[in-house]
């Protein structure tokens, strides 16, 4: 394992090097490989401005908890477990922040949390993004992990701490709701 160039090592081997040798280059490679997927994970979760900070927090947590990583665990499962925890902490922080914000008088001035400019290039993508955003957190996270991150259901179940059967039912409900919101059941979409 040690003789191979870092770039050729898989995530688990890199993480083991971080765990056993505090290997900075191996950690940097993990950051490079997974920062984009984490960034989009948080953006799709509804974070508009602070998504890169949450990515940073996730990697910082990965480093802090590096000794908890065991070779038998898939790296993405470990990483998204941490990302989910960061997201839960962020939701709690937002709830506290919301309480503080509500104590401030409503103002006619520019809103801080104005919706971000849509990045989707076509109206169809916009509709899809909006529909996705209206899903409940439980349904949306199943879509996020199984569709966008392409994780097997067993990993999704482990990350969300739910049975595989629940992953399946949530996935079905999520896709069905998306179809309904996009009007596909009415035959509006080819």
């Amino acid at each position: 394992m040690d003789s191979a160039p870092l770039e050729q090592l898989d995530d688990a081997d890199l993480m083991l090097r971080v765990r056993s040798q505090d290997d900075e280059a191996a950690f940097a490679l993990l950051v490079s490989r997974h920062q984009k997927s984490l960034l989009n994970f948080f953006i799709r979760s509804g974070v508009q401005y602070d998504s890169e900070d949450l990515v940073q927090q996730t990697f910082l947590r990965l480093y802090r908890y590096r000794q908890r990583y065991v070779a038998s665990a898939k790296f993405t499962t470990f990483l998204f477990l941490l990302a989910r925890q960061v997201w839960i902490d962020e939701l709690r922080r937002r709830q506290r922040r919301q309480r503080l914000a509500e104590s401030l008088a409503a103002e006619p001035y520019e809103e801080f949390a104005a919706p971000a400019a849509p990045s989707a290039g076509v109206e169809g993508d916009l509709d899809l993004a909006r529909a996705l955003a209206t899903l409940s957190e439980g349904l949306r996270q199943v879509i996020e992990l199984a569709v966008y991150q392409d994780l097997p259901y067993a990993e999704v179940a482990e990350i969300l701490k739910i049975p595989v059967g629940t992953v399946k039912s949530r996935m079905f409900n999520a896709l069905a709701k998306l179809r309904e919101m996009l009007g596909e059941k009415r035959g509006d979409t080819p």
Binding site: E24, V55, Y65, L100, A120
Partner: protein, 377 residues
């Protein structure tokens, strides 16, 4: 099982529709991380490596707990002793025997009978008496053992007494701006929620609100849209007042934060005035700290503040306690304890070398002591 295996279990028509939907979902455009993200993450990890967060390592069943390296304790103790000796030497003032931090103890020992601090006694300009009183009180209030609560209370009484009928704390132009912003900040942070100091705070906030520019900033004279230094202090004062339940602080706070957000350029620079091409490390640090702390209730502002800290240097060659204290606060707010420590080390070395602080002729030893104590860990 994966997604497609699951879909294949469904009736054909439904499976086809769901597959098409999944294809559309996956075809949505992806956001790209900013070019600096990797370096930011690695810097944060380096800081964590240098100063590990306690109690995050797992408890393992088969391993003995790590024992501390006794040599580290020896060097830490020696370093602490050296720091204490250095500070005593630097300021050449007697320290209270009960105080852990000699700089703070020196401030406490030099409080005037009326509760204020008089800069004229220590090489500064007497016009800044309210501002220096506020800074000294804020520094004393940071004592972890709360040994100076009486001094702080007396300082609040003194600031209340120094307030003029218009709600300010005396002076004109630049003097008035700093006196008002810092005294208001100190009262909002330190004064009790009732009594004369609370009334003084309400009046001070009313003045801040009335003298805010249309754009949301504050400056030395009316008519200007604002400058980053005064606006940062005003925003910190109003945020503290809002936290205390002073509702009239809410509107100017939001406007001030919007102004500061506009002062933070995409290149990480902050100039004295918005739109100016200039760049000030001290102002960038002060603005960053303000956005991260006073703007914490507003989505996006802490992130802008943290971004401002990325380009800040922790190693300066010239003395400037104001700049250095702002950097320590900014790095601490961003969780970058390693760079905050580097700034503190630099402050100490420059004082030991006898470097002249550019603002010392105005603020005197009170100014350097107050900012040194505020930057103290």
């Amino acid at each position: 099982m994966n997604l497609y295996a699951h879909l294949s279990e469904l009736p054909a028509a439904e499976a086809t529709a769901f597959r098409a939907l999944v294809t559309r979902l996956r075809a949505q455009p992806q956001h790209e991380p900013s070019p600096l993200l990797t370096s930011r993450i690695m810097a944060a990890v380096a800081a964590e490596r240098a100063h590990p967060t306690p109690n995050v390592q797992p408890e393992t069943r088969n391993q003995k707990p790590e024992t501390r390296n006794p040599k580290l304790w020896y060097w830490a103790a020696a370093g602490l002793a050296a720091c204490l000796l250095a500070v005593l030497t630097l300021f050449d003032r007697p320290a209270a025997s009960t105080a852990a931090d000699p700089t703070t103890a020196w401030l406490a020992a030099n409080q005037e009978a009326d509760g204020s601090w008089q800069p004229a006694r220590h090489g500064g300009d007497s016009a800044y008496r309210p501002a220096l009183t506020a800074l000294a009180a804020l520094a004393l209030a940071r004592d972890p053992a709360d040994r100076f609560s009486t001094n702080v209370q007396r300082a609040c009484d003194a600031l209340t007494a120094l307030q003029t009928p218009d709600g300010t704390f005396g002076g004109t132009g630049r003097v008035r701006a700093y006196n008002h912003a810092l005294a208001t900040y100190a009262l909002a942070t330190l004064a009790p929620q009732d009594g004369p100091a609370a009334v003084a705070l309400e009046r001070a906030v009313a003045y801040s609100r009335a003298n805010q520019s249309v754009e949301g900033g504050w400056d030395y004279e009316p008519g200007s849209e604002g400058n980053a230094a005064v606006t940062s202090w005003q925003v910190q004062a109003l945020a503290a007042a809002a936290t205390k339940g002073i509702s009239q602080a809410n509107i100017p706070l939001r406007k001030g934060l919007i102004w500061l957000r506009g002062a933070a350029r995409d290149d990480g620079g902050v100039a004295y005035h918005r739109g100016s091409p200039g760049r000030s490390e001290g102002l960038a640090a002060l603005t960053a700290h303000t956005l991260m702390t006073s703007g914490q209730a507003f989505e996006g502002l802490p992130a802008i503040g943290r971004r401002l800290t990325v380009n800040l240097t922790a190693e300066d060659s010239t003395a400037d306690c104001y700049r250095d204290c702002a950097k320590v606060m900014a790095f601490e707010s961003a969780g970058d304890t390693a760079r905050a420590e580097t700034v503190r080390d630099g402050m100490q070395l420059r004082r030991q070398a006898g470097s002249q602080d550019p603002w010392e002729p105005i603020g005197g030893t009170l100014y350097t002591c107050a900012f040194t104590a505020l930057a103290h860990k």
